[in-house]
């Protein structure tokens, strides 16, 4: 088995979020989600729709970074207005990186702190409320800690989650569908009791206790908790040659650590 980095482990784990999406649109915000969607398309989900990150559907993933002579292969139009339309129809999965995530899967990129005078102003809710009430959503979190996985609720609920207290009439919105959370420590889903966040695999060398200690709420775990699968040679080759030829993923984590932790 070849060596692989933590970034590559996360990318391959995140690609799994798109399994079964068929022809749905994968909207992937950020480096890991983008490479994950590209990898899914080039391996097990060839019909996935993806974009150039701007306004066009492309027949093959656009390599990250400077494109050199590479020309995008347009297969259709996907302006922002069309993205909204596809969101409303639900034929899409978004993978994003929230600044805060709570036990309900509610997410925030708006502000940190008090709403009127926040400690930190970020972007705004963007499309999170619409994404989460209309189509499937997954997340990549590069820093699994209690500042991101917060106790209580996130400071501004942009992305909605499995929090019955907020649902109209207490009923789950029909199309609310949170899928996967990939962090630098573990892979989680929402299949715990009442859709609680559940650890489904640990990255090599990580213990459940470490994940729990870095999470602001109680986590559930799969009864037979295994390791996050290592990237295959095929996946690493696709990353190197097609998706990320400039190795931008090497800059994702400080010192680009290996995927299999060295014994300390």
């Amino acid at each position: 088995m070849s060596d692989y980095t933590l970034a590559e482990l996360c990318i391959c784990a995140a690609a799994e979020a798109f399994r079964g999406e068929g022809e749905n649109l994968a909207t992937s915000i950020g480096l890991v989600p983008r490479l994950a969607a590209g990898l899914a398309k080039l391996t097990f989900e060839p019909d996935l729709m993806i974009t150039d990150g701007e306004a066009y559907l492309v027949a093959e993933p656009v390599p990250l970074g400077p494109r050199g002579d590479y020309q995008i292969k347009i297969e259709g139009l996907m302006t922002y207005e069309r993205v909204f339309d596809i969101v409303y129809r639900g034929l899409r999965q978004a993978m994003v990186t929230p600044v805060q995530l709570d036990r309900f899967g509610q997410t925030n990129i708006s502000i940190v702190g008090d709403y009127a005078k926040p400690k930190t102003a970020l972007l705004g809710v963007r499309g999170y409320p619409g994404n989460t009430i209309n189509n499937a959503n997954s997340m990549f979190v590069p820093s699994h800690d209690q500042r991101t996985f917060v106790s209580g609720e996130v400071d501004m609920v942009g992305g909605i989650g499995y929090n019955a207290a907020r649902w109209p009439g207490g009923e789950k919105p029909t199309w609310l569908d949170l899928r996967l959370v990939v962090s630098n420590l573990a892979v989680m889903d929402f299949q715990g009791r009442d859709n609680a966040i559940r650890v489904i695999s640990l990255h090599p060398g990580v213990t459940f206790e470490e994940v729990q200690d870095n999470t602001g709420f109680e986590l559930e775990a799969l009864s037979s908790l295994g390791e996050t699968p290592a990237p295959s040679t095929e996946q690493l080759t696709l990353l190197n040659e097609r998706l990320d030829p400039h190795q931008l993923r090497a800059g994702l984590f400080k010192d680009n650590p290996p995927g299999r932790r060295l014994a300390s």
Partner: protein, 294 residues
């Protein structure tokens, strides 16, 4: 009879803006923003504006200049530079009133205004804090058998909208030749008076091509005035003609921490567009700015 001539100067568009107005600005984040108009507006006495925008640097500039009373928005960002420093500062100090919306809700509000409706129904916003921070947004029960509770996204009528286009004629026909027209159409339709700034004035004949007609989302009856603003989106991008001036936007962003008096003096105060263009390196340098890749 002569056809209508709606050509005017950027400064003449600014004279249409009155304090207290609700102003819609086209473009998206760091892309195709009518920045020449924004700079001219900063040189005016106008204040107390309510701004509706898919926000970019214009939000920070108007906020930091104290011209903004209220912001109706889904985000403020400069795309490649994700966080807009001047907006953040104003937001953190609680200096502006807010109506923070999902991006799609913002469009629905414009669409409702465009159709002269009080609201449009949507699920978007339900179960999120958009509904708690904006108690004025109500829900409505579907009158049909499903009885579903929906958000009644209120219309966002605009007193004025200003958008930047690639080409226009003096009658108000216009073309957006970049890859995404964004929501400029809806800003124009939602406004009492829409104005365009344009990279170039062209003859009406130049639109006589079915492929070009597909790039013309705004019909001229919506448009009250058109002003020439070559490189008028700088430092934001205006594809396919020029990309973002990232160095300029970074320098602008840094002034959120260091104070922006120098920036104001160098690039805005008393500067005509041509003086500004010279100051930032000239038209040919701007036209060489690489288009962004995402």
């Amino acid at each position: 009879m002569e056809p209508l001539d709606k050509s005017m100067t950027i400064e003449e568009i600014v004279t249409q803006v009155q304090s207290g107005m609700t102003l819609g600005i086209g473009g998206w984040g760091g892309r195709r923003k009518p920045m020449a108009f924004i700079r001219a507006l900063l040189n005016s006495e106008v204040t107390d504006l309510t701004l509706v925008s898919y926000g970019g640097p214009e939000v920070g500039m108007l906020a930091t200049s104290g011209k903004l009373k209220k912001l109706i928005f889904g985000f403020v960002s400069m795309d490649t530079i994700p966080l807009e420093g001047h907006y953040r500062q104003a937001r953190q100090e609680g200096r502006i009133d807010l109506m923070e919306l999902d991006e799609g809700m913002l469009q629905l509000g414009l669409k409702a205004a465009a159709a002269r409706l009080p609201f449009l129904p949507t699920r978007v916003g339900l179960a999120s804090d958009v509904m708690t921070v904006n108690p004025e947004i109500k829900t409505i029960k579907s009158p049909y058998d499903d009885g579903e509770e929906l958000v009644a996204m209120p219309a966002l009528p605009l007193d004025m909208a200003v958008c930047h286009v690639n080409a226009a004629d003096s009658r108000g026909n216009s073309r957006i030749s970049g890859p995404d027209p964004f929501f400029d159409e809806w800003f124009c339709r939602a406004s009492t008076k829409a104005y365009l700034t344009t990279e170039q004035f062209v003859a009406t004949d130049s639109f006589n091509d079915p492929k070009i007609a597909l790039q013309m989302p705004v019909e001229r009856s919506l448009v009250h005035g058109v002003a020439l603003a070559t490189c008028g989106a700088h430092p934001t991008s205006c594809g396919p003609e020029y990309g973002m001036d990232l160095a300029h936007m970074r320098a602008y962003n840094a002034t959120a921490k260091t104070g922006w008096q120098d920036y104001l003096a160098d690039y805005i105060q008393g500067k005509t567009l041509s003086a500004y263009i010279e100051q930032v390196g000239g038209e040919s340098a701007i036209k060489k700015l690489p288009l962004p890749v995402f």
